[in-house]
Every structure is written in C-alpha cells, then in structure tokens.
C-alpha cells in the first residue's frame, strides 16, 4: 500500500515536471518567434508577412524531422513532447497567420492574401513531408 502511494507520487511529479518543461520550451519558442519576426520585419519591407511565413514553414519542417526521429527511436516520446508540443508549438502560430491574412483582405489585397495562405499551407505541408523523409534517411 505504501509502495503504491510512492509510485503514485512519483508519477504525479513526473507529469508536473513534464508540464513545466513543455511550458519552458514553449516560452523559448515564443521569444524565438518574436525576435525572428522582428529581424525579418526590419530587413524585408513587404505587404506579405514573410516573417510569419518563414517561422511557420521552418517549424513545420522541424516537426516532421522530430516525428521521423521519434518513430525510429532516436528520441524518446517524452523528449518529442517537450520539443514538438513545447518548443515548436510555441514557435509556430496559427492565430497570427489568420489575422495577417484577414488584414490583407481588409486592405483590398485579396490576391496577396490568397498567395500568403496558399504559400503557407503548401510550403508547410511540403516542409513536413521533407522533414519526415530526411529523418528517415538519417
């Protein structure tokens, strides 16, 4: 009985530690997104938000790579959760993508908005497939 109790405690604490690690990885991902977005916005002056596009596509590539490496047992599932759900989840964003695309429509640049959405989804899906393929070769 006492032993059961100990096991329960250690399981709960590992869930807690896992959650905190996911949160910390996410905060690092969010600040990486913020800094990268600022740098790209400074360098490139364009209607289409290339910063968010770059962030989402690179994040999609990385999650494909992580997925392939985990299915080949290079990474443990716990580490995959921290890196994929935590860091990459914090790094990539869907809300900003929708907001920026809708702002483009509102300004009358419907063609650019369509181009933005289409390129994000096409390049994002392609990046995931590429990441999985590359992870399979490694």
């Amino acid at each position: 009985m006492f032993r059961d109790f100990e096991v329960k405690i250690s399981m709960q604490s590992s869930v807690f530690v896992q959650t905190i690690l996911v949160g910390l990885a996410g905060s690092l991902g969010a600040s990486a997104r913020y800094l990268l977005g600022r740098i790209v916005a400074k360098r490139v002056s364009s209607q289409i938000p290339f910063g968010t596009l770059l962030i989402n596509v690179t994040g999609a590539f990385a999650i494909g790579l992580l997925f392939a490496l985990t299915s080949q047992k290079f990474l443990s599932p716990a580490l995959q959760t921290i890196l994929a759900t935590g860091f990459l989840g914090g790094y990539t964003t869907f809300s900003t993508l929708c907001w920026e695309g809708t702002q483009l429509i509102r300004k009358g640049n419907t063609a650019q908005s369509l181009c933005y959405f289409a390129s994000t989804f096409m390049l994002g899906l392609f990046a995931v497939v590429l990441g999985i393929a590359l992870g399979g070769i490694l």
């Binding site: 969010a30 600040s31 913020y34 999650i63 964003t93």
Partner: protein, 181 residues
C-alpha cells in the same frame, strides 16, 4: 508620451505569455483528446479557432488602446495566443491523416481550419468593434449626465472607475514619479 519598451521588458512579456499559452494548449489538448477521441484532430482545431477569435478581439481593443497597453498586448497576443495556437501540429496532423490514407479527412481538416479561422478572426473583430462602440456610447451618455448635474447628486461624477491604460506605457522610474506625495 510613450517611450518604446525596453527589449528586456518585451522579452519578459513574451516569455511569460509563451509559458502560459503552451501549458494551456498542452493541458487542453489532453482534455479534448480524452473526451472526443484521437480520430480527427479536434484538439488542435478547437485550440486554433479559439486562439484566432481571441487574437482578433484583443488586437481590435489594443488598436483603440482600450484596456490593453503595449506590455499587455505583447503578453497576450504575441506570447500567450501565439504559443497557444500552433501551425506545426496542424501541418503534421494533416500529413499524418493523408499518409494513413484518409485523404478526405486530411483535406477537410486543413480547409475547415483555415476557413473557420478566418471566420473566427472576423467574428472577434466584430465583437471588439461592438464593445468599443458600446464604451463610446456609454461615455457620451455619462458626460451628458454629468453636464446635467445628475451624477454629482449620486456622487459618482468624481469617481475614477476606468482602468488607466497609460499606466502600462510607463517605465518604473516614471511610475515612481507619479506616486502622490
């Protein structure tokens, strides 16, 4: 009026927001998967949609500097909602459905996410505009009441019952200077 925020303060806001947003997504995703199953990625879909709605709502309020100052904007929009919603899991979910042979659900997942996301942004924006208009109407009614001296009878006229948005723009030394001696 407003000096730009220091980079440390900006990063601090984004870090804290990102931490909270990621944990909320992680926890909510497990909860939704437990209730609705893992067949179709309902968790990421619902999280992304609510995040897009909230982002539009908060940004509309922030543009009018109503309740939301620059630090809060960074914390909520860039940090919390940016980390709460995710594109990488969406793309991976679509590819996983497609490689499992469920082409139709993969396509529907991606298209419905995008379409409902845009709709959610539009709804959030409308909601924000509605609240700002409500506030403006309320301010007009209040000032006309004050002119007719009705509120002073109720001793509500001098009461400060609004949130000071300027407070958010100030840095620490300015905050100290504003403390009444």
């Amino acid at each position: 009026m407003s000096r730009p925020l220091s980079l440390n303060r900006q990063l601090c806001a984004v870090l804290c927001g990102g931490f909270c947003g990621t944990i909320t997504r992680y926890w909510l995703s497990q909860l939704i998967q437990a209730h609705l199953g893992k067949g179709w990625p309902y968790d990421i879909f619902l999280i992304n949609i609510t995040g897009a709605l909230l982002l539009a709502f908060i940004t509309t309020l922030a543009d009018e500097t109503f309740l939301i100052g620059p630090t809060r904007r960074l914390f909520i929009n860039v940090g919390f909602l940016g980390a709460y919603t995710t594109f990488s899991s969406l793309a991976l979910g679509g590819v996983q459905l497609a490689t499992a042979g469920h082409w139709l659900s993969a396509l529907s997942y991606l298209f419905i996410s995008l379409a409902v996301g845009i709709l959610a942004v539009w709804c959030g924006d409308m909601l924000g505009q509605w609240i700002i208009n409500y506030k403006k109407t309320f301010a007009v009614v209040k000032s006309s009441l004050q002119e007719s001296n009705m509120l002073s009878l109720l001793s509500l006229g001098k009461q400060q019952d609004h949130i000071d948005v300027q407070d958010d723009l100030l840095l620490d030394d300015e905050d100290e200077a504003r403390i009444p001696r």
